[in-house]
């Protein structure tokens, strides 16, 4: 390069950098209009409240429901009147048909109340089997009489009945939240097929709750009482599947992923259940450039990608507390909330740029696992239908909200989805 060229080039370089361009307010106003559109001002509290309004609502709903909704689960059941269809030829069944039907059809609350305290004689099987509501109330007061009564009932049950091994210590006292008949010692047996239950809340008051399915089918009144109101915890095992709609920002869904879960539950009480498990997740999501935070120094031009598409495989380990809001017969409505730990086992990210950045990466991936303990809030509500036997099926829409960023891009990952699952009571 010649000297004159250097002079010319150097001159232009020096002079072009000696700048003093006067500030133009209009240029700022144009930029501000763009900022207002693309990066609107967000008052922090109201922004988050608008975005996640349902979380405080749901969380406040749980304790509120405790007071508002009456507990209809089994541990309050003082008496179960269990009409059992006996085999043909059973004389006991026909013997009490009329009496039973009339007793069920006209049990005015005040009438029942008046009979509380009236003692019936439990000395003979015959007398107990011929009992009416008066006897029921009376038996509710004395454990010893109840035991005698159960023994008596046992002798009248058909040979195929599941209660055939009932002994004097096993007092039927209720139907638990899984729909099983629970005995006094905590054991449980399935409800009998084709039977109906008249369920009295305890203590017996004028506000007796009658839940009678089909009074016409009654052929025998089987009276079972309980004086043991202790709740016995139990474990459940469940399997489930559900679509996974993950996104960053709640409005960038691209394609559904999938969730397969194996969960373990422990019933702390008839209404509360502790749930954990393992959920295998395959999710796909999209994040805009300002929501995707690759490690510093990664981007060649620092500004980074404008959009990132993620495909991840992970293990979700939730720890949730479930609350049964309503239990009516075989139907339950529940809400659940807790925290999740994510173990991301595989990450693939594809980057898009609105403008060209020569040499900028368009992919990053890893098979190395990374752990994000308790970084996600789980909130769900669901419906459960209790099957005959020990199983139940349930449907459970859920949402997962980020506490901390996850993955290599440190994204605030939101997830919506719905679980379809089968639960089985494994022990006891």
């Amino acid at each position: 390069m010649s000297e004159s060229e250097n002079n010319l080039d150097g001159f232009f370089r020096r002079r072009a950098q000696q700048t003093n361009v006067e500030f133009n307010e209009d240029d700022w106003l144009h930029l501000e209009a763009r900022l207002n559109k693309e990066m609107p001002l967000k008052p922090a509290f109201w922004f988050w409240l608008r975005k996640y309004w349902f979380v405080p609502v749901l969380l406040s709903l749980i304790p509120a429901l405790w007071f508002v909704i009456p507990d209809t689960t089994s541990n309050n059941a003082g008496i179960i009147i269990n009409p059992i269809e006996l085999s043909p030829g059973n004389q006991v069944g026909s013997q009490f048909q009329d009496e039973v039907n009339s007793g069920f059809k006209t049990p005015a609350a005040s009438e029942v109340n008046e009979k509380v305290g009236n003692s019936a004689s439990p000395d003979s099987d015959k007398q107990i089997l011929q009992t009416d509501l008066n006897n029921v109330v009376d038996l509710n007061e004395q454990t010893e009489k109840a035991s005698v009564q159960v023994n008596t009932i046992e002798t009248k049950l058909p040979a195929s009945h599941n209660l055939s091994n009932l002994d004097s210590e096993k007092v039927i006292f209720g139907i638990n939240d899984k729909g099983y008949v629970v005995l006094g010692n905590g054991d449980e047996v399935p409800r009998l097929s084709g039977t109906s239950y008249l369920h009295f809340l305890s203590p017996i008051t004028p506000n007796i709750d009658f839940l009678l399915d089909t009074p016409e089918s009654l052929s025998l009144l089987d009276i079972e009482t309980s004086f043991n109101k202790r709740f016995h915890g139990y474990f459940t095992l469940g399997i489930g599947y559900g679509p996974d709609f993950s996104t960053v920002g709640l409005d960038n869904f691209i394609a559904p992923g999938a969730r397969w879960k194996l969960d373990l539950g422990y019933a702390l009480s008839p209404r509360f259940q502790l749930m954990t498990g393992v959920v295998l997740v395959n999710n796909k999501y999209k994040a805009s450039g300002d929501e995707y935070h690759a490690p510093k120094g990664y981007w060649q031009y620092d500004a980074g990608a404008d959009e990132a598409y993620g495909e991840c495989k992970m293990i979700d380990i939730p720890l949730n507390l479930r609350f049964n809001v309503i239990t009516v017969g075989r139907h339950k409505a529940f809400v659940s909330s807790g925290l999740s730990t994510y173990i991301i086992t595989k990450e693939d990210y594809y980057f898009d740029y609105y403008e060209d950045y020569p040499g900028s990466p368009d992919y990053w991936g890893t098979d190395n696992a990374s752990v994000y303990p308790f970084s996600i809030i789980n909130v769900s509500m669901g419906y459960e239908y209790i099957l005959k036997g020990r199983g139940s099926i349930q449907v459970e829409p859920f949402i997962k909200l980020p506490i901390n960023g996850v993955g290599w891009g440190n994204v605030d990952l939101n997830t919506l989805g719905i679980y379809f699952s089968y639960q089985y009571r494994i022990w006891p």
Partner: protein, 188 residues
């Protein structure tokens, strides 16, 4: 850019990180002259330069979370600015010529150059065709090598050299027109 202490600048940037409009405006005002001086060299006219500057600022505000606050801000901002200028340039689908020409040496320019004002310099650079202007700016103003310019603009190294030579020749022609009389006098 106004002389702000690093602490003040950091404070401004952190405000921008929170999407604080006052901090964004203050940063914009402080960097306006510096940013426009770069954009004006690449743009065909002032409005285009302002548009490119705003594009760069949007990029800055959206990606400030990725900025390493332990490093100086101005080089990062400059990189984004130049990239915005290049992207704007690319949108125009400018065609580059590939023939390399030998440019005549002109030696008596320096004495007249000191008379040229900044705005006139810009006018001269703007008179270059967009393709020559881009290579000229990247080579002389930003200090890129031909290999880097070739990669940035997606052209060959030969084309980059050719365009630079033509840009230089054209600038000399432009200078002649601006200061014909003085130039001729000096030549004599």
């Amino acid at each position: 850019m106004e002389n702000h202490s690093p602490d003040v600048l950091t404070s401004l940037l952190k405000g921008c990180l929170k999407n604080d409009r006052k901090c964004q405006r203050e940063l914009y005002r402080n960097l306006y002259s510096y940013g426009m001086s770069i954009c004006l060299r690449y743009a065909d006219h002032r409005d285009e330069a302002a548009e490119t500057l705003n594009e760069a600022f949007m990029k800055v505000f959206k990606n400030l979370g990725k900025f390493d606050f332990t490093r100086p801000f101005k080089p990062w901002f400059r990189k984004i600015l130049i990239n915005a200028c290049i992207n704007n340039f690319k949108k125009k689908n400018i065609r580059f010529t590939e023939d390399v020409e030998v440019v005549a040496n002109n030696s008596d320019t320096e004495s007249i150059l000191s008379k040229i004002a900044y705005n006139e310099i810009l006018e001269m650079i703007r008179k270059l065709s967009p393709a020559y202007r881009a290579v000229f700016n990247l080579y002389f103003m930003e200090g890129y090598k031909h290999e880097e310019i070739a990669e940035i603009l997606g052209i060959s190294v030969g084309t980059s050299k050719s365009n630079l030579a033509k840009a230089r020749k054209n600038l000399q022609e432009i200078l002649k027109l601006y200061f014909k009389e003085d130039y001729e006098r000096i030549r004599e």
